[in-house]
Symmetry: C2
Subunit: 474 residues, 2 copies
Amino acid sequence: MLTHFDKVFRIDLRLKKDEQILVGVSGGPDSLCLLDLLHKNGYSVIVAHLNHGLRPESGDEAHRVEEVAVSYGFPFVLEECNILALSEATGKSLEHMAREARYGFLFRQASVADAQAVLVGHNADDQVETVLMHFLQGAGMTGLMGMKKITLPNPWSEVIPLIRPLLMTWRSQILDYCRDNNLDPIFDSSNQDTEYFRNRIRHELIPYLESYVPGVRVRLLQMADVFETDYKFLHEYIDRAREDCLEICGDGYVPFDAICFNKQPLSLRRHLVRWAISTLREDVRELDYDAIERALSVAKSVSQSGQQDLVMGIRAYLEDGVFYLASWEADLPQVQWPQISHEVIIEAPGHVELSNGWYLIVKPIVNGESVQEQVSTNPDPYRAWVDVGDQLTSLKVRGRRAGDMFVPLGMGGKSKKLSDFMIDQKIPKRARECWPLVCLGDEIIWVPGVRQSHEFKLGPKTEQVIYLQLIPPS
Amino acid sequence: MLTHFDKVFRIDLRLKKDEQILVGVSGGPDSLCLLDLLHKNGYSVIVAHLNHGLRPESGDEAHRVEEVAVSYGFPFVLEECNILALSEATGKSLEHMAREARYGFLFRQASVADAQAVLVGHNADDQVETVLMHFLQGAGMTGLMGMKKITLPNPWSEVIPLIRPLLMTWRSQILDYCRDNNLDPIFDSSNQDTEYFRNRIRHELIPYLESYVPGVRVRLLQMADVFETDYKFLHEYIDRAREDCLEICGDGYVPFDAICFNKQPLSLRRHLVRWAISTLREDVRELDYDAIERALSVAKSVSQSGQQDLVMGIRAYLEDGVFYLASWEADLPQVQWPQISHEVIIEAPGHVELSNGWYLIVKPIVNGESVQEQVSTNPDPYRAWVDVGDQLTSLKVRGRRAGDMFVPLGMGGKSKKLSDFMIDQKIPKRARECWPLVCLGDEIIWVPGVRQSHEFKLGPKTEQVIYLQLIPPS
């Protein structure tokens, strides 16, 4: 009869005995049990220990783990870091920094050693606590599936799996194993402080829930497995939808084709937003329901130019048919817009260089008659024919200013606030500030790419026609 | 500015004002609030009340609900039943019977009145309690999505939706509404008794959980919505898989093509088993993880003839490539097997009628030489050529008996227990007892459809050849 521990290194873990396994060993019961089992089963192990430097006894503990490694004849690698300092420097939580530092270290070492896998000691109680914490925060499937037995790819590697062989083993079984095998685990004195929430769940909430449903721990462990399976199924469709909709990502932003995105079933749209935000902010672990709903409403907004703050410095934008999730500080791609950051004098004939490869060209036309009819409606926003009298040397191109007014051609000569006109014309909000305006003095002659002014249209008395053209990047 | 209650009858409920709506009204705050809102908004309502007969004041309450209906000018329908007696007679729980009786009544009345929908008053707190109860029982997606705002089809109708307009309205909002509108709800004195578990969740657990995560109720309500969406997505694939794999269901059993079933992703296989069991036993609401895993292992069993008890009188079988989920008492389809329930004497030439349209025919062959070679291996399990000397009148066909032995042709004359031979030959367990055996006295000459006996094969001294044939149903 196989004992529970005989079945821990199941066939589906695919661990080979003649290839190195890197094991994260804190020195606690879980990792000592794991190490002992690996040793008994004849695996090739590298023992890795990260000294977080959070407690006075950290150094001693590192030394004890090294002694254990030596006693098994396993190589030992150690790294020290100052999690507290890192946390303070980055403004990220201690728990997040510790996790990042730990897995970063383990996978760096695994990569150096060409190890087949990184193993850590999480047990079934850890899993139940994780599931319960996520549940209380209203997490979806990805939260309720808890930790995975095998994670590949993972945030630290595309090729080295993260494996948790003890994920179906209860803490009590591990403690019994340690006792029966004369292992001497370290009991971390800081648990009570650094992971207060988890400890309250462990010591108070779970025992209390047992009074509602005896065996609740087992049920939650099984539930996590069911959700892992469901998510695995769903994940294929999320991946496919992402392939269909995702445009080229940049630093700090994730762009989706809005039409394609909006065609996806609601379930997939929510998962895509979750994925995008987790890509932008790896420290956002539980995502607010309302934030996701806001993002989805931006994607669907009728104005074609919506914007919403979501959560922790992430925004959603809709611009020119692209639905962006982006961090506040990100430079979104602006290649599609002409922009100008400072005032420039037009020299005619000549050209003005705008941002992102756009140009404005300007030239006088001698025979005004030939364009007279053409310009009475002017359906082409990329070209303008204007009458500026003899003021040609006073023409300039600039961005907008507070109080700018504009008299759009074709609207009966009515004057509008430029800002309102830009909204009407669905110029993306981010693009408005530096949208080039061709002006005579302070008066706007032409909003390139959009509309020329009624005030400067050609008339019966026009003597000199000025031709302007906006040329997109080639 | 719209108040919360202005948004209760949202467009997506698709309720028409000029068609009848049947509302289940207990007289409690939820249903009175719902009724008042419907009245204010000008809907055409029928008030339906089921008197469960569980409490002395039931009759008075029915009368009060009728008065409310009359005050609005709404028609009133009443039914009385004895839930306690029904529960005792069927052995099903009081809660289950009350639910069945209530919805059965509402939908019967809705059908009679040609109503567009049945409305009930479940609120957001009910939803959170439901989600939490399911979570503690380790439920999957279908449990964590809780109740649905609109359910169609539902167990009671394919055409009339069950709608819960107040599912996003908190109990406190409903109580405020009742107070502000001078409604006088009945507070059910039996809540404390009949729904003890739910009440403990409501009054103890949820307030306690708020101390872990403030706003946990809102988070769980939102989570239910996310799971409903995810399940809606998954459901399409479950439906498709079911269409692919499901064979013709019978009374008390659900059959899947085993090869097709086993090809489905694990997630869908689990959901299909859940669906099948819920079809067979509508009162099984939370399904044991282990039961589902056992069912899946039966579907995959190598022996091609597995069987497992699952849960509450449901079994899983694998037979002839069909994976069945069936209640204990169900008659599975046996049309594919020849069966005999009693002993029959063979008359030669002649035939014996077996169950399900199978026949055995028997006839003497004069020239034995012509089949001599053919029968030395006999690859055809549906035919046999045997030498029974002059004992032709002693031949009979019967089912098996304890202690039956058999000497299969082609196995060197070794004798085997018939029961072992049947297992080797993958005769389905249920079919073994009544599988027809052609015998001379107690000795088995032929297992029709499987193998003839070594002992009765033709030999150099054979004078009289008896030819036997098993004929499948046409």
